[in-house]
């Protein structure tokens, strides 16, 4: 089984990805993580304006067979959440790096402390 690990993202050991955008960082879970979980049926996310701590749990992803906490790759203020996941949590399975994104936040941190795509690939192989 080979998993998609986009080169323009950085990763946490706990299988979240972070993407540097203009002024914000977008966060989701990796292709490997969605495959391990299987059919995602429920997502619990924070609210816009909530403060997230670096590497602290910010939400929950539930598949039919498992419950998993999701951790913040960087700390900061939530500026957007993906509302579509409320009705279509399966987007995390079908498009973990695209339509399945979870939230965006404003942060003072850079992404340098996170795993590079190469390092993350090594971790899951």
């Amino acid at each position: 089984m080979s998993f998609e690990i986009p080169d323009d993202l950085r990763y946490l050991e706990s299988h979240e990805w972070a993407k540097q955008q203009d002024g914000t960082v977008r966060v989701g879970i990796s292709d490997f993580a969605q495959d391990e979980l299987g059919d995602v049926v429920f997502v619990e996310l924070p609210e816009v304006g909530d403060e997230l701590q670096t590497e602290a749990a910010f939400g929950v992803v539930e598949s039919i067979k498992a419950v998993s906490d999701v951790y913040a790759p960087v700390g900061g203020t939530v500026t957007a959440i993906n509302d579509d996941l409320v009705n279509e949590p399966e987007r995390i399975n079908s498009d973990p790096y695209g339509d399945g994104w979870m939230l965006e936040l404003e942060t003072d941190e850079d992404l340098d402390h996170l795993l590079s795509p190469e390092a993350y690939r090594e971790q899951i192989e």
Binding site: M1, G38, D39, V41, F42, E44, V60, E62, S63, I64, K65, V67, V86, N93
Partner: protein
């Protein structure tokens, strides 16, 4: 502890199944996705490797008597070629395990087989032998769990798919009938039984021929994940979870399997159950449908709308067929009527739920 493995452990691994520890066995939990596998069974057909189930044979002149004294149903009512569901209870009427008892076809002797749940085979073998000796009955008891592979073929297309590779006239089989015949040239037992609510069959074949039989059945392979969501939609019990003598001691009346109790027979636990049948019981397994988003799971508290705890979820999932979160929980009998509002506490947050009858499927 080393996990026991089904004969097809390697074949399933090559098919890229994910595995789980279930009852001391390393079993495939998911081949493709639980939803895909679940839907295959509900809409057409799927096959399951359930070789973790135990097989104990009981034969000899007192075989029927021994089984009748150790299971709650009336084994003497079975003709050769018939099977029945039953509970195995202790003297207090507490369920130790549930099982299917087969009166085997095409045999001249009194030949029976019963199928305890994964990890219970040795305990049940010991129980049968100890009671046989205590009661001085003439019966041969053998634990044949590793001799057999067991597969389930479930779904409305099961008769067609299995019919292609068996000598048995499947159309002529009533529910809970068991027949002897060949599957892909392998001498097997085929029973019209299952754990999904769909029409289907369970096959017992020698473990040495497991690969031949499994690969001859052309259908979606399904893991224990889909087996669990399918049985939950029907409100079927899972041993060790919906009842367990150590962690969740329950009687057949609490568990809602009164139909498997025959008080006309004399079995271990009968007198305790007769007393309960007369005096009534306090709690009963109830179906719940969540009215808010979330997934109810084993161990979550159930409360009144005011917040007082009244029970615990024993099984729960997101129903793939209904697209609704469903659960089973033991609640005071006043909650057995449908449409009572309660709450399931998920990560400290109460979520509204209503009671419902099972099966959850219409």
């Amino acid at each position: 502890m080393t996990l026991r493995q089904p004969p097809l452990r390697e074949a399933h691994a090559e098919r890229e199944a994910q595995f789980t520890d279930f009852g001391g066995w390393e079993m495939p939990v998911e081949f493709d996705s639980i939803r895909t596998e679940h839907t295959a069974v509900r809409e057409s057909v799927g096959k399951f490797d359930v070789s973790h189930m135990g097989e104990i044979s009981v034969s000899g002149p007192d075989a029927c008597e021994l089984l009748n004294r150790l299971t709650t149903n009336d084994v003497s009512a079975l003709d050769a070629g018939q099977a029945q569901y039953a509970a195995i209870t202790d003297t207090d009427g507490i369920i130790l395990d549930d099982t299917v008892v087969y009166n085997l076809p095409e045999t001249e002797r009194e030949d029976y087989l019963f199928v305890p749940n994964a990890g219970h085979d040795e305990e049940m073998y010991d129980r049968w032998v100890a009671h046989r000796d205590e009661w001085g009955l003439e019966a041969t008891v053998e634990n044949q769990t590793t001799d057999y592979a067991m597969f389930a073929v479930q779904g409305e297309d099961a008769p067609a798919v299995l019919g292609d590779v068996t000598s048995v006239d499947l159309a002529g089989m009533a529910r809970f009938a068991v027949a002897a015949g060949s599957v892909a040239g392998t001498a097997s037992l085929i029973a019209r039984t299952g754990y999904t609510g769909e029409p289907g069959f369970e096959i017992l074949c020698p473990s040495t021929d497991a690969e031949t039989v499994w690969s001859a059945i052309e259908s979606q392979p399904c893991g224990l994940g889909a087996r669990d969501t399918l049985r939950m939609e029907m409100g079927f019990l899972l041993s060790g979870q919906d009842f367990d003598p150590e962690t969740n001691p329950r009687t057949p009346y609490e568990a809602g399997i009164d139909f498997a109790v025959s008080l006309d027979t004399s079995f271990v636990g009968r007198d305790a159950l007769e007393a309960i049948a007369t005096e009534g019981h306090d709690e009963e397994l109830v179906g719940l449908t969540l009215l808010e988003r979330g997934v109810p799971r084993h161990g979550y508290d159930v409360t009144t709308t005011e917040g007082g705890t009244i029970g615990t979820v024993t099984s729960g999932t997101m129903s793939p067929t209904l697209g609704e979160p469903i659960a089973l929980a033991y609640l005071p009998v006043s909650y057995t009527e449908p449409d009572r509002t309660v709450q399931v506490v998920i990560r400290d947050k109460p979520k509204k739920a209503r009671t419902t009858t099972t099966p959850f499927l219409p």
